[in-house]
């Protein structure tokens, strides 16, 4: 509606996401404690009640702004074409892949791949040599510091296992 007007208006659709999620979460929360003892309910009902009231207040305020023409229900402040061009969607995909694969591939290898892929996405395929070098240096530094020196229980894969064997055999 107002997206075609001459004067740019506030894109309030995106601003409604957090209140809507908060209301949905509060209702879900209440549904899990209906049969619970009062000790489990009192704090949640108090906080959740106030939260729902605040969210409804915000939704009403937004509706009034939309009806007055000073805001639209657009999502322009949340999702834009720029997200594709800036590589944000690609980075999100790489991040999800990283979290899914790290348990299988281990910290060092998966971190190297994640860094290299996401940096390549963000640089739009430029400076690949430098990116590979930086990614390898960071992943190996992380391995040396956290796994070799601190013996932290980072997710481990074949690289860590191979290096452990190499180091154990001197």
């Amino acid at each position: 509606m107002s997206e075609h007007s001459e004067k740019p208006v506030r894109q309030a659709g995106g601003e409604l996401v957090i209140p809507v999620v908060a209301i949905a979460f509060s209702i879900y929360f209440f549904s899990t404690i209906l049969e619970s003892p009062w000790t489990a309910q009192v704090s949640a009902f108090l906080i959740g009640g106030i939260l729902i009231a605040l969210c409804i207040g915000f939704i009403v305020r937004t509706a009034l702004a939309v009806s007055a023409g000073s805001a639209s229900l657009g999502f322009g402040n949340l999702i834009r074409r720029e997200d594709w061009r800036s590589g944000r969607i690609g980075l999100l995909g790489a991040t999800v892949g990283y979290v899914v694969l790290i348990d299988w591939g281990g910290f060092t290898l998966t971190t190297f791949l994640f860094l290299a892929i996401s940096m390549a996405i963000l640089s739009r395929g430029r400076r690949l040599g430098l990116i590979a070098l930086v990614s390898a240096a960071m992943a190996l530094s992380g391995w040396a510091l956290f796994i070799l020196a601190f013996d932290t229980r980072f997710p481990r894969g074949w690289f860590e296992a191979a290096m452990a064997m190499v180091l154990a055999n001197g």
Partner: protein
């Protein structure tokens, strides 16, 4: 427990001879403090075999140094890249990061180092002098009093949400609601866990911190080539050693601010169960409430950076008081210290200062020496550390994501926590893009479960009588102070505006 001045001088000089332990440990602490998930407590646990193998004094100095330096280290990424290393530094980026974006990262770091070192040093000396009195503070702080202390921290939500109060309150209460996830403290009834066993203990703080701050920040900074503004980048390119000295001068000229906010940290630190996050939120809120320029907070105001950094380092010395005097650890790191020291046959309590004064007083002396050496070693590094902000975001963002997500895994070693951090990252990203303050959500997540515990304890003791909240003299005094700290700044602000209007 009264020793001569020569004893303390001798102890000080003796502790100085351990510089070879302190200096490398400072660097270790700065690293582990700076990466979310690698707190001092975790690192002491990881290095426990080494600590146990050390001679008592060396192990003690190592742990105290690691504890203090990790606290300071947590503020560095908070200032430079808007990512607090621990929950105790969650209030630091509110003003530290805007300074960095404006090209004043070097000054901000120097200010933070002065505030942390001076705050830590002052509170260590006060703790040493007033140990018997401070040790009793914990006895007077019951559930009711703790509820008011928590509310002091929570009232910060309203302060940082001044731009849009409704959005700020929604963010804060959403955080409080998330903080209530998990089993209830009395009957262990699971609540809103989505069927995940990993959430029965509540929402872990590190994944929340990583997601809300680090992951969401990484997805935002890629819009520009650098995290610095154009003028900030120009300022960074021009910056020299003078910027470090300017930061030191800015901090020292606010010495009184450092003193009183670090005292807030000390008092909160001696209360078992309270911690650096509460102290830094309360200090920030109080600093803003009694400032002549509250409108500058959140825009890169020096006092907004000094307050949380002084306070969270004040907590460090505060937590040692109940540990040493009554044998009750004030936090996770202090609890681990207790275990290590008991392994060496040292029993904490009042007799420690009579039987082994060099150990009892030695811990405070180690902390004092650490703060002195730490300041001298770290200050020259502020110039080089601040250069991190010059790294192009195409390299910086993936590094932030990978290392902080793995950091989310470390404390509990659940893969689930990495997914949780990613989920919080999505919430944080949406919140930032649509004008909700992620710090307000985090305050809720941190303080929500604590508030509930104390609230339920108070209600259980009083058999459900809500008037228990106003049943103690100390509690009532705190209530009055809380109301004053909220109402007075509003009243003063309105009076100032009226006078300005009358003059014009």
């Amino acid at each position: 427990m009264v020793e001569s001045l020569s004893f303390f001088l001798e102890l000080f000089l003796h502790t100085l001879t351990y510089w070879w332990v302190i200096v490398p440990t400072v660097f270790l602490g700065l690293i582990v403090g700076g990466i979310p998930g690698f707190s001092a407590a975790n690192t002491i646990i990881i290095l426990m075999p080494l600590t146990l193998a050390m001679e008592v004094e060396t192990g003690l100095i190592f742990m105290v140094t690691l504890y203090s330096s990790a606290r300071m280290g947590a503020g560095i990424p908070a200032i430079l890249v808007n990512i607090p290393g621990t929950a105790g530094a969650a209030a630091t980026p509110l003003d530290g990061y805007p300074m960095t974006r404006a090209g004043k990262g070097q000054q901000a770091l120097a200010m933070s180092f002065v505030a942390s070192s001076l705050g830590g040093l002052i509170t260590t000396v006060i703790a040493l002098a007033a140990m018997p009195i401070l040790a009793r503070v914990g006895f007077y702080m019951h559930s009711v009093e703790m509820i008011v202390v928590m509310l002091f921290g929570i009232s910060l939500i309203a302060s940082i949400a001044a731009e849009d109060m409704l959005k700020g309150l929604i963010a804060g209460f959403f955080g409080l609601m998330i903080g209530n996830i998990g089993t209830d403290v009395v009957y262990a009834t699971p609540r809103a866990t989505f069927g995940f066993l990993e959430l029965y203990d509540g929402v872990p703080l590190i994944p929340a911190l990583v997601g809300l701050f680090a992951v969401s920040e990484a997805f935002l900074i890629i819009e520009k080539k650098s995290i610095l503004t154009d003028s900030g980048r120009a300022a960074m390119l021009r910056s020299s050693w003078a910027a470090t000295f300017e930061g030191v001068r800015m901090a020292l000229s606010r010495w009184w601010h450092i003193v009183w906010t670090s005292l807030i940290g000390l008092v909160i630190g001696v209360i078992p169960g309270a911690g650096a996050s509460i102290a830094s939120f309360v200090a920030y809120q109080q600093s803003r409430a009694f400032s002549k320029t509250p409108e500058l907070y959140g825009t890169g105001h020096p006092e907004g950076l000094i307050a949380p950094e002084s306070a969270n380092n004040g907590v460090t010395s505060g937590t040692l008081v109940p540990l040493l005097v009554i044998g009750i650890p004030g936090g996770a790191t202090a609890a681990i210290m207790l275990v290590v020291m008991q392994y060496h046959g040292i029993n904490f309590g009042p007799t420690l200062f009579e039987d082994q004064p060099e150990i009892g007083y030695g811990m405070f002396m180690a902390m004092a020496v650490t703060y002195m050496l730490m300041f001298l070693t770290i200050l020259p590094m502020s110039r080089y550390m601040s250069r991190v902000t010059m790294v192009p975001t195409l390299y910086l963002a993936p590094m932030i994501i990978s290392f902080t997500l793995v950091g989310a895994f470390v404390p509990r070693e659940y893969m689930f926590d990495m997914y949780l951090a990613l989920g919080f990252g999505v919430i944080g990203y949406i919140a930032r893009r649509t004008g909700y303050h992620v710090a307000a959500i985090l305050i809720g997540v941190i303080l929500g479960p604590l508030l509930e515990i104390y609230f339920l304890r108070a209600l259980k003791k009083s058999e459900g009588d809500i008037m228990v909240l106003f049943s103690s003299n100390i509690g009532n005094t705190l209530w009055v102070l809380l109301v004053l700290s909220i109402v007075l700044p509003i009243w003063l602000g309105r009076r100032k505006a009226r006078r300005a209007a009358a003059r014009s």
